[in-house]
Amino acid sequence: MTAILSMNQITKDFSGGVRALDGVSLEVERGQVHAICGENGAGKSTLMKVLSGVYPVGSYGGSITFENHETAYRSINDSEADGIVIIHQELALSPYLSIAENIFLGNEIATRGVVDWPKTNREATMLLARVGLDELPSTPVLELGVGKQQLVEIAKALSKQVKLLILDEPTAALNDEDSAHLLDLINSLRGQGITCIIISHKLKEIRRIADTVTIIRDGQTIETFEMKEADATEARIIRAMVGRDLDSMFPPHTPDIGDELFRVENWTVHHPVDTTRKVVDDASFSVRAGEIVGFAGLMGAGRTELAMSIFGRSYGSHISGTAFKEGKEISVKSVSEAIGHGIAYATEDRKHFGLNLIGSIAVNVSAAALSKLSRFGIVDRFAENKVAEDYRGQMNIKTPNVSVLAGNLSGGNQQKVVLSKWMFSGPDILILDEPTRGIDVGAKYEIYGIINDLARQGKAVVVISSELPELLGLCDRIYAISEGTITGEIDRADATQERLMHLMTAGKD
């Protein structure tokens, strides 16, 4: 066996002193399927971007050898010319163009600028047969489901004479049937001598398909081993993925838990476009007053979708299930209804769903509860400013005044504005989705303190997070969710990262 790729001591720093990769090494044998595992933010995607030239040579440290020569890619075009093709989680197809046009986009079969359509379609048909996609090359891509689009991407890679195919979480958005088909395809590509790197959270998948696995954590390679070794178990992968000390970075929290405040039963949500796919499947959970409840799940597990569908059907289609507040069934069909019942949802995507970035802090803080500051439809701007100033002080939002635009604040301060907005709406139930994403350590500590305060005031708090230490440090009880199903519920006392990771990667058999 010979190595087709070896990456040596790769380091990559981002502005602001963030070290995303800290001496990662990776050897990939020719003709193998090599899996890379790691928590969200471990550095997997950054490593692949270094490899494919998204981060050009010179912007990272270390060396890369591919097919016995040292690479110096300045862009993704350079790496593709060498036969390295990366397929991202978000597919990059042009929806209104046909399958054939997409496959040869930027690489058209043409003579003197005139496209040879018969040849294009013939080649495309052959490629589609190779990936097992039974569609006409003239079909527009937007008529295909995600699974079939994924196959078009692979056909496109094959058209570029790919030697090393990198798949970034290829099955994250697929249903079971499409996932199975994709894994079979990867298997048959291996038979044709194509080397594959697959980034995945799903341990069952890795066990089924991978020859070798490398685990990355906090920007470092933890270990690499062959899956045929006797002790190559899921437990070993999980241990390597999470083996990190719990930092003492959480403010003290003594729970004072009261009666059940909020309960959801048999909640099922389908994908908004692909309505046959269940994104959340028969989920039931409850939160008590003064309790902080965590939701652990990997990206794409359905955590955000569960929360957003409860919050006024902001996500999904064919939503079924019931919600109860203090034992009584409530209707949460619109956002204003949900807010009316005292539910608040602080989104994981502050910039997209949380803030009006070109609006002032004051405008953002009052956005969900303007009626509290107005009479007969007229807003009392003085009172509004007063409220915003109060929150600025209370939450320690670091800015001279509240007329500063939200878009000019740092991530931590933006998050405090989002929290202020929902606290001002006077909720009983707060759902906080990734409340510390993209925030520095100091601001994280402050936000944990705020969450504890909310619980102390008798509110029911739900925290959704991909960071297990955060959930373990913060929550009284944790639900694990995997592929849309709640796979377990653990009390604070019994929870460990390993147990959670088992449940988070459990999946359906």
Binding site: S336, F353, I358, G359, A367, G377, V379, E389, N401
Partner: protein, 399 residues
């Protein structure tokens, strides 16, 4: 953490100079033409015409700025002006309605048009560009149907006065014949200044009592002083012509009303929220569809009013009325600093934008610049104004 002791002094509000940028541009253009025309630009008669000729743009721009803040556009307003004008004229000359009934019918018709377009935009989800482009053709076509290609003249004097009349000289005049001045106009000017200063001082006092940051006294008094002098000078000049144009009162009410609506009401705040980040607005419980619907209803009513004003000033309805009014209004709004992507814009900015276009028109006409060159110059001014805005935003973003 540094150990600074908190001072009792309140933080001062920073004055955003960009906010005054286009006001400065208007001042520069006025001074430039005042010099180029040897002082003819601001002669009482020209000042009067400036107001009466541009009233329609100002009214449409006030509605259009709200549409654009919400992230939409309305291309149909010119055709709506024509159609409303036609119906108003028909209702008086053929159905024998009194002038005030014709005005009410016009505003209701405008509201109906707005509801029609708002329905398609807000509830069906068709982009406003398409809906109002269709409206532009649709309502122009209906105008031709109503007027059957002809024109309707000889409208009641009271109706015509809305666009081209003046308030009666209630308090008489200073002096006689040529060079006499209408006292009412001067009184109204003084009243306006008094109201402005009272309102500003009160608001400042309230801000201070709530311990909110306030503007520095120096800049506060300079700003209000300049505003007072300008208002007094303009009304004094205007008084030497034929008094206060009725349309000026309507415009003043509209500008104050809609500044209030956009800044102080829940509706206004929701409009900004939708334009600033539609998803965040939805996730904050804003009923975005209804807000969009009423934005268009409001635009329709104002287009109806512009139809009344245009017909009244012309003294009759013609099928070609209101041609390219939508473009004038859109240009005014963008010169006034609104963002193409929505979420940004002010009524006062749109008004200044409309005045810049109006002063350019008048100044170039006085200088008897060829109409072809007038268009060219206005096109360049629009482009440069928006380019300036885009570049200054980019610089601000880099900070």
């Amino acid at each position: 953490m540094s150990t600074t002791t908190p001072t009792r002094k309140l933080p001062k509000m920073r004055v955003d100079l960009r906010q005054y940028g286009i006001l400065a541009a208007l001042a520069v253009i006025v001074i430039l033409f005042q010099v180029l025309t040897d002082g003819r630009l601001l002669l009482p008669g020209n000042l009067n015409n400036l107001i009466q000729q541009n009233a329609y743009v100002l009214i449409l721009a006030v509605g259009m700025v709200i549409v654009i803040i919400a992230g939409h556009i309305d291309l149909s307003v010119g055709s709506v002006v024509a159609m409303v004008g036609a119906v108003a004229a028909i209702s008086m000359s053929q159905w024998g309605m009194p002038w005030w009934a014709a005005v009410i019918i016009s505003l209701l018709l405008g509201a109906a048009v707005g509801a029609w377009q708002g329905f398609w935009v807000a509830f069906v989800g068709i982009p406003a560009f398409i809906v109002t482009l269709a409206g532009m053709l649709l309502f122009r076509g209906l105008t031709l149907v109503f007027l059957t290609g002809g024109t309707i003249n000889a409208l009641p004097g009271e109706f015509n006065a809305i666009g081209g009349g003046w308030l009666p000289e209630l308090f008489g005049t200073i002096g006689e014949g040529r060079g006499s001045r209408d006292i009412l106009t001067i009184v109204l000017g003084v009243l306006a200044v008094a109201m402005l200063i009272t309102q500003q001082v009160r608001s400042r006092a309230k801000q201070r009592s709530l311990e909110l940051p306030v503007e520095r006294s120096v800049s506060f008094w300079i700003k209000n002083g300049v505003a007072a002098v300008v208002i007094l000078a303009l009304t004094f000049q205007l008084s030497a012509y034929r008094g206060t144009p009725i349309i000026l009162i309507i415009l003043a009410v509209l500008i104050l009303l809609f500044t209030f609506v956009l800044n102080q009401t829940v509706f206004g705040r929701h409009v900004y929220a939708i334009g600033g980040n539609l998803f965040a607005a939805q996730m904050s419980g804003v009923k975005t569809s209804w807000i969009n619907f009423f934005v268009f209803v409001n635009m329709g009513v104002l287009a109806g009013l512009a139809g009344v004003v245009t017909t009244a000033r012309a003294g009759g309805a013609v099928a070609s009325a209101g041609q390219s009014f939508e473009l004038d209004a859109i240009a005014a709004v963008f010169i006034g600093g609104a963002a193409v992507t929505g979420g940004v814009g002010t009524v006062i900015g749109a008004v200044i934008g409309a005045l810049i276009m109006g002063v350019l028109n008048m100044g170039l006409s006085i200088l008897s610049v060829d109409a072809a060159w007038q268009q060219t110059i206005k096109g360049l001014v629009l482009l440069l104004a928006v380019a300036f805005d885009v570049m200054s935003k980019r610089r601000a973003g880099r900070r």
